[in-house]
Amino acid sequence: MATTTATVGITSADLTPGMALGISATTTLNKTGLTDGLEIMDMGYGTLTIADSHKALHEALGTVDTSNYVYLANESTNAEHYIEVVLHDTVIGRLYAGDWMFTPWNQSDSVAEWSIQAYGGACAYTYAIFKSSYVLPDSTQGTLNP
């Protein structure tokens, strides 16, 4: 059994005058409804160009309605370059240069894939996806050794 922890800290000294903001939280990424840690993950790095259409970051190839988590970061340093993040056909939001996101992913529908597209200029990105299950896609070679 693996152990994966995700910690966040959010701070601001001047967002609200006289009241510094300090949020911190830690969670352990477990299998659906269990205290056993997730054991499947993908992690990688790539670059999106503005000529690209929406690209699937990850298809919903796991079991529907399960515990999964997605981390995604826009590694661009140009403030005008952003990545549009889409879940199925809903635009979640924009990751501007240096932004990151971390979210649970329910795979609530068989087509609930994550899509990303660069705007303003090319965007390098890093990602990690932690999953309860995953179904390998069929080989294009069919059955090689019947």
């Binding site: 693996a2 001047d14 809903t90 979640i92 979210t103 649970p104």
Partner: protein, 141 residues
């Protein structure tokens, strides 16, 4: 203009050497100027399986789309959770559902607060048998 920093650290032994650490400064769309709006930190406790709204799209500016939202399940249950998603139709197999927040789980995502109710963010508890609590805050332009 305010300065809001958010740091994430993810460590895992699924694969040797996984250690993600990243800090972002939340900025307005297309600029280096910091976000300076917020809903403030909210806490809501429910004991119902009826969906409830966390963020209304009117809290963001549809022309300025760099908002962020943070949501955390303050509980400790490994079995009870909140569905989080867009609109009230949150369940196991609805495309509006983003994911489940189990006890201690948190999320921080960009929020495209366009001028439409389809971008209102809701939560729905998985059980009405025990009280469950969310804390949540939006950072807006």
């Amino acid at each position: 203009m305010a300065t809001i920093n958010a740091t994430v650290t993810i460590g895992s032994d699924i694969i040797s050497g996984v250690n993600i650490s990243n800090t972002m400064t939340m900025t307005k769309a297309g600029t280096n100027n910091g976000l300076d709006g917020t809903t403030g930190l909210n806490v809501k406790t429910v004991q119902t399986e009826t969906a409830f709204k966390l963020f209304d799209h009117s809290e963001g500016d549809p022309a300025k789309r760099a908002s962020k939202v943070y949501i955390r399940n303050t509980g400790s249950s490994a079995t009870d959770f909140f569905y989080i998603g867009f609109g009230e139709d949150l369940a196991a197999a609805t495309i509006e559902t983003i994911g489940r927040l189990y006890g201690s789980d948190w999320m921080l995502i960009p929020w495209d607060a366009v001028a439409a109710t389809t971008h209102d963010i809701y939560a729905k508890a998985s059980t009405a048998e025990s009280a469950m609590t969310l804390e949540f805050i939006a950072f807006t332009e």
